[in-house]
């Protein structure tokens, strides 16, 4: 098992190299005038040219990539074109906020959606099941900006219970967490429900029931554990996506996270900043996915035997 974890962590290296290579070339392929974006409309052409030269944008792509990878080897994520500051410190300033929001958003979603999913499955086609389905579908089809603004109008503007934005104190966390969580809930609830249904029908559950094991014990002990694999997968995927930044939620709640930073950097064609974010994300995703894979092993010992 330890070996497996170490092996997977070592696999981070090719993933990072792959991601940085891909994104670097994507960024150099995509049209966009970085220097002009930084200097604005009114700077003369000579100033734009000079900045382009200073940023090294006139060098061939491969040369720039080589420079970048050399710096990366030394643990240096480079300097943002736009702000002229180290990318690492820019990301470090924003990552904690992103993590906080994703973590609580995910916790909120999981805490609510797994029980709801189980109830829906055990009472398939009941009213509770139908209501939970409609709510889940509303949740997934509602854009975050819409739900976020509605919550702000209701709870900040009218009731004055929570601040409308910012990231100071637990109160500021409530509305963005609900907004983010609702989007994730739909997926987890539905997956829990359908996996539960799948498992409930399997022979060994029927056998257990026939043997007279109590209903709730069957559900909690036998059914749930086996239904967990797809659920854990979905949670992992959603958590990964949240760590990559929840751009719309961040914008609505003025949450100083990485999503906004990444999108602004992509727009400005700030290659070092984009690469920095993407590398951090790939590490996050890889770790989350490794965690998910380890959970599989914990849930299903047959899978465990394959991790060597």
């Amino acid at each position: 098992m330890h070996k497996y974890v170490i092996k997977r962590l070592l696999m981070l290296i090719p993933v990072i190299v792959g991601v940085s290579f891909l994104v670097f070339f994507i960024m150099s392929l995509a049209p966009g005038d970085t220097a002009r974006m930084i200097l604005g409309d009114d700077a003369p052409i000579e100033a734009v040219e000079a900045l382009r030269e200073e940023l090294g944008l006139n060098d061939p792509v491969l040369v720039r990539y080589a420079h970048y990878m050399l710096d990366l080897l030394h643990g240096d994520l480079g300097t943002s074109y736009k702000s002229n500051r180290p990318v690492f410190s820019e990301i470090a300033a924003r990552f904690p906020a992103t993590f906080r929001l994703s973590f609580w958003g995910m916790l909120f979603a999981v805490a609510l959606s797994i029980p709801i999913g189980i109830i829906s499955a055990t009472r398939q086609y009941s009213i509770a099941d139908s209501i939970s389905m409609v709510l889940a579908l509303l949740g997934v089809a509602t854009p975050n900006f819409w739900l976020g603004l509605m919550l702000i109008i209701a709870f900040s503007l009218n009731l004055r219970w929570f601040p409308s934005g910012g990231a100071e104190g637990w109160k500021s966390l409530v509305l963005p967490v609900i907004t983010l969580g609702t989007g994730c809930m739909a997926n987890i609830t539905r997956t829990t429900r359908s996996s539960m249904l799948e498992v409930i029908r399997q022979d060994y559950i029927r056998t257990a029931k026939a043997k007279g094991v109590s209903h709730s014990k069957v559900i909690n002990k036998h059914a749930l554990k086996n239904a967990l694999i797809p659920v854990v997968t979905v949670i992992g995927l959603q958590f990964g996506a949240l760590l990559g930044g929840a751009v719309l939620t961040e914008a609505v709640f003025a949450w100083p996270g990485l999503g906004t930073y990444l999108v602004n950097s992509i727009k400005a064609k700030d290659t070092p900043a984009v690469l920095g974010c993407v590398i951090i994300f790939s590490i996050c995703f890889s770790i989350v996915n490794l965690g998910v894979d380890l959970l599989y092993a914990y849930i299903d010992p047959r899978i465990k035997s394959k991790y060597k």
């Binding site: 991601v19 389905m133 579908l137 509303l138 359908s194 996996s195 797809p230 997968t233 979905v234």
Partner: protein, 289 residues
């Protein structure tokens, strides 16, 4: 040979008959057919030039009325007509892009889950790489490299969702591949590919169906952000995602701008969900009477 074909046909008939007995699934099917018909006959329901793109600034942002069932947008255009016509794009983009990621991601995930070991490692690490590339960046690149048509929209959305499907199918396959029916198929000499697609996948449809139906909603929503970077639908053509997102500024004054396209998406995925659930039941080998 002909016996085999007859057997296959009778199986399809059986599945269809089971589906027919499921009322909720039938409701879903009816809604989907209605949506599809309204998209196909959009021009009959509302004329494009006089209803969908015709502006009337003096009637902008009006709420629902007899003349405009769903109200008017910021240009005074009829929202009902725009939703009917928008379905042409949104339904196609939603369904096809999800099919693309399901096919590609699903197959990769199935192989990774089935074979495990090195195959798994290579496929899933490549998926990790794609997971880390922001979808907007991917879309910008596709515009730059391939142009801005609708096919590329589906490609952009499809590719960015592929790793998700790979992970979900892989997990599902890992969960069932050691069960007895797989062993017995292997024992009678069935090929690996056949085992994956004939034996394993039909037995792990549940999470796949959930993921697919829900992804249609997010695919439709993301077409809006793509049209801002020039990929896909451009003004004045209607499309649900873009209608939702352009209503964002008017949320407090004219909520119907976002409400109706939002409901259109909800109804679509509701129908898909109902049908998907029914289909899963109908396909479930364990439920054969």
């Amino acid at each position: 040979m002909s016996a085999e074909r007859t057997k296959k046909r009778s199986m399809a008939v059986e599945i269809w008959q089971r589906l027919l007995r499921n009322k909720m699934a039938m409701l879903g099917l009816v809604i989907l057919v209605a949506l599809a018909l309204s998209a196909v006959f959009a021009d009959v329901i509302a004329d494009y030039d006089t209803k969908v793109v015709a502006q009337n600034i003096s009637e902008r942002l009006q709420g629902p009325s007899a003349a405009h069932w769903f109200g008017t947008d910021e240009f005074g255009r009829d929202i009902f007509a725009r939703i009917v016509h928008g379905g042409r794009v949104s339904l196609v983009v939603g369904l096809i892009s999800v099919s693309v990621s399901l096919l590609v991601g699903g197959s990769l995930g199935a192989f990774a889950g089935f074979y495990g070991g090195r195959v798994d490692n290579v496929i899933m690490r490549v998926m990790d790489v794609f997971l880390a590339v922001p979808s907007i960046l991917l879309a910008i690149t596709i515009v730059a490299a391939l142009g801005t048509n609708l096919v590329n929209v589906m490609l952009a959305i499809g590719v960015s969702n592929t790793p998700n499907f790979a992970r979900i199918v892989r997990a599902a396959v890992m969960g069932v591949k050691d069960q007895e029916f797989v062993e017995s198929a292997r024992a009678i000499g069935t090929s690996n590919t056949e085992i994956i697609f004939r034996e394993i996948l039909p037995n792990c449809m549940a999470p796949i169906i959930v993921q697919s139906t829900l992804s249609v909603a997010s695919a439709i929503l993301s077409t809006a952000s793509l049209s801002f970077i020039g990929l896909g639908v451009q003004p004045p053509d209607p499309e649900w995602g873009a209608m939702l997102s352009s209503g964002r500024n008017f949320l407090r004054d004219a909520m119907h701008l976002t409400l109706f396209p939002g409901l259109a998406i909800v109804v679509t995925i509701l129908a898909l969900n109902l049908l998907g659930d029914g289909l899963r039941d109908a396909l479930d080998p364990r439920l054969k009477q």
